[in-house]
Structure formats: C-alpha cells, structure tokens
Amino acid sequence: MAEVRPLPVRIQVTDGALIPGKGDKTVRASWKIALFGALGLLVFLPLYNMAPVQEFVLSLWAGLFPSPELTARLDLLRSGKYQNIWVDILLYLPDGLAVTFSVTLSSILLATVFGLAAGLGQISRVVLLNRIATVYVEVIRGIPLLVQIFYIYFALGNLFHLDGFFAAVLSMAFCYGAYMGEIFRAGIQAVPVGQMEAALALGLSRSQAIRRIILPQTVKIILPAIGNEFIALLKDSSMVSVMALVDLLRLAKNYGSNHGDYFPPLTVVALVYLVMTLILSWLVALMEERLNQNAR
C-alpha cells in the first residue's frame, strides 16, 4: 500500500481535475485510480450487459432467489429482443463528442481573442479602453454562465435569430474571455518590468514592445493556465445542451427519454467526460514540465 502523504500546501486556482505533476504522489495515485476506474467501467459495463453474460448472471440469481420479475427478464433475454443499451449508447456517442469538441475548440479560440483584448485593455493607459475591459471582466464574472447562455440564446437569440452553434460559441467565448482576460493580465504583469524598460530605452513604442517583447514571454507563462481553461470549458460546454445543440449531455438526455432509462446514458457520458478531462489534465502537466525544463 502506497503511503498516503498530505497534499503540499499549494492553492491552485483551477477548475479542472488536479494536475498530476511529477512530485505529487498522492495526486498521481488518485489520478490513476480515477482514469483506470473510469476506463474500466466503460469497458466492463457494456461487456457485463451483453446477452449471454446477463443470461448467465440472471439465471444464477433466479436459482437463488426466484421471482416473477427475474423470470420475465430472462424470457426477454432468451426471446432475442434484448438490446444492450450500453453498447448502443457508445455507438451514438461520436455525434455528441463531435459537437462538444467543436463547440469547445471554437469557443476557446474566440475566448483567447476576447481574453487577449481584455488583458491588454486592463493594462492599457487609455482610460476608456481600461474601463471597458475591467467592467467587462467584472460584469461577466459576476453572472453565472448558464444565465449568460440562456440570455444569449433565448433573450438575444429571439431578437437576432442566432443559430444554436453560433450562440453557444459566442456565449461560452464571451464568458471565458473574461476569465482569460485575467490570465493574460497576470501573465503580462508577470514579465519583469525591466523587459519593457529595455525595449522602451531602445526606442521601441509601447505597442511594439508589447508585441515583440512582452507577449511572447507571456504566452509561455500562461500556457498551462490556458490549458486549464480549456479543460474547464470542455466541461462547461455541457451547459449548451439547454440549446437546440445535441452535445454529449443532450445526447444522453435524449437517449434516456427515448428509452425510458436515464441511468445508462448518463453514466456513460459522465465517465466519458471524466476520461477526457483526466487525459487533458495529464497533457497540461506534461506541458508544464516541458516549459519548466527549458524555462527561457
């Protein structure tokens, strides 16, 4: 049994799974348990629910505790009309995955644009730009994402006839742009002031200095944080299922209502989300290690 060590005192501002860095044995262990547990269940549940396996199990139970219900289920299995829902869902999943990923990717790209603008605005010396950026960040961060999605899709969507995908991406990007604005601002301010001074002393303008000197260094600083935002956005993209968009969650919900059983589809979707975020958080950890290795 591995020794359980208390987590080191480090308050990480992250929305996602803990990042399994090399040093934290406890986090790495729990990461492994979660990942392989989820993958195991994703393999086990469809196999366990295959007709021959079910027949074997149910007949065992029926032998021990005979009941009319079990007999009825065994009859169904033997009639050949039994459908393995767990396998069926897995076949449906790719459509939902495609929607979830395209919403996530488009949103993160657009959110990066909003975030960069907000971050630059927050450090701008032009009072108007500064106000717009800081108010944007304050307002958006103070309104729940789900409310924003409803607002853009139902309230504004009625006025401007927004297409579902577009409304989804716009609301996600608008919201995440505010959070990323904070990341960009912090990243820009993390570059030592001497860099800006050296650039100015050489005759560069402030905007040239930001473009050529500050931002390239900012990107390296904030890449892991952006990775975390990507994970958080992937999860929050499930909220767009309130729109007419069939993402993973909406797919599961539809499937559940069509078959009168929500348990299998929601279980599978939860596990799929878990696997995706765990893998992504591992990738972010890898990226962080890389950046720390050649920290220039």
Partner: protein, 243 residues
C-alpha cells in the same frame, strides 16, 4: 567640450520621498561622467530621467537640441540615440543573442535584416562574444550577458550611453570584462554617464566624478581631486566607507 546632456533643476518626488532635489549637471560630448553615492541617493533616478524612463516632477533635461522633459518631444526618436545598460541586463530571454542585437535596428530604424545582422556580428566581435551569436541569454554568464546588453545598446548607434550600476549584479570575477568594454568605449570618445560603485573604473575612465547624497549633488570634481582631496564632509565619510 559642448554639452551633450544638460540637466537643469531636476526634482523628483515619489509621494513623500524627494528622490531628487534641484539637481543640475552636464555631460560634455565625448566625456565620461561617473556618478557615485550611497544607495537611495537618487543617482539611478537621475540617470533614468535622462531617457525619460523616470518622469521628473520639475526641471529640464536636454540632449543636444532635444528637450527630453518636454512632453511634446518625440521621446522615441530621442531614445534611439540614448543607449542604456541596466543592472539586471534585461536581455530578451526569448530571443537569441543575435536577435537581441537585431531587434531594435530592424524594428525601430527599419534597417534590412542582412544589414542589421552584419552590424550585430561586428558588435559581438567588438565585445569579444562572436562565438555566442546563436546562444540564448540563459546560456551566458553574467559578464557575457552584460557585454551583450552593451552591444545591443550600441546597435542603435547612440550618441550617449547610460550605465545604471552595470556591474552590481555580477560575480566579482566578471566585473573586469564588462569594465574593459566600457573603458574602450570611453577611450573611443563615446559620451558616457555611469552610475557605479567601481572606483577603479572612475579613476581610469572618468573625466569628472559626481558625488550624490540624499537627492543632491554634494561635490563634482576630477577623479584625482574627488578621491584624493574631497572637500565635503559627506564625501569624505562616504569614501572612507567604500575605499
């Protein structure tokens, strides 16, 4: 010598603290002026005001005909002609040595890449770092970094060079290689304004030494006069501490 840098009545306050109190001085064309003084004496603030990295509360600074402290002046054009070397080097870590040298000439002066590269290679040879042109700043020692920083400033072909404690962040064994480069510059007739604690450099290169304390110039003199025959009590006390 005609004045290249002229400072008249420079004052600067940071809130309550008065970092500079009505300071006037000049640096002649081709002259090397060394500013010494205890920490907090305002010498770095004065130096940084010359290219307006520090904005004065009151007072005027001219570089030749350019009025640095007039906010309508094109400060970028003035800065092109004022090289600055910092205590912490401030090399751009995401650029190679060569790119560090080429950035400002291509970006500000719009010189061609080939042109800028040729010049950069020449400057690296001058500071003795030809073999480091493709290195990253993090791969250099402190002394090498500072020599690259000097070459980077020279790439803009400035008519004044400002040095803000250029050897203070260096290990002792690397101080000389940097001072040698500065000494060469002084001998070649570059105009230098140097804030430093290196009395050896001041004696070897300075035409005049300025002693500052608590935001004021206490004494100005040739190195021989100021070091051997200081007039003011505060100068004597300071020199007794460091020599």
């Amino acid at each position: 010598m005609p004045d290249r840098v002229r400072i008249e009545g420079a004052s600067k306050s940071f809130g309550e603290l008065q970092a500079l109190k009505n300071v006037s001085m000049s640096v002649g064309a081709g002259e090397t002026v060394v500013v010494i003084g205890p920490s907090g004496s305002g010498k770095s603030t004065l130096l940084r005001a010359v290219n307006r990295l520090e904005v004065l509360t009151s007072g005027d600074i001219w570089i030749d005909e350019d009025h640095v402290t007039n906010h309508t002046s094109d400060i970028r054009r003035i800065r092109e002609e004022v090289g600055m070397v910092f205590q912490n080097f401030n090399l751009f870590p995401h650029l190679t040595v060569l790119q560090n040298l080429m950035l400002a000439p291509t970006c500000v002066k719009k010189r061609s890449k080939a042109d800028a590269e040729k010049q950069a290679v020449g400057l690296l040879a001058r500071v003795g770092l030809s073999e480091k042109k493709d290195a990253w700043p993090e791969q250099l020692s402190g002394g090498q970094k500072q020599r690259v920083a000097i070459a980077r400033a020279l790439a803009m072909e400035p008519k004044v060079m400002l040095f803000d404690e250029p050897t203070s962040a260096l290990d002792p064994e690397m101080v000389k290689e940097v001072l040698d480069v500065m000494l060469d510059l002084a001998r070649e007739g570059m105009t230098l304004m140097v804030v430093t604690h290196e009395m050896g450099f001041a004696k070897a290169a300075a035409h005049r030494v300025i002693f500052m304390d608590q935001g004021e110039i206490i004494e100005i003199g040739s190195p021989a006069d100021l070091f051997e025959r200081p007039q003011n009590e505060r100068t004597k006390k300071f020199l007794a501490h460091i020599l």
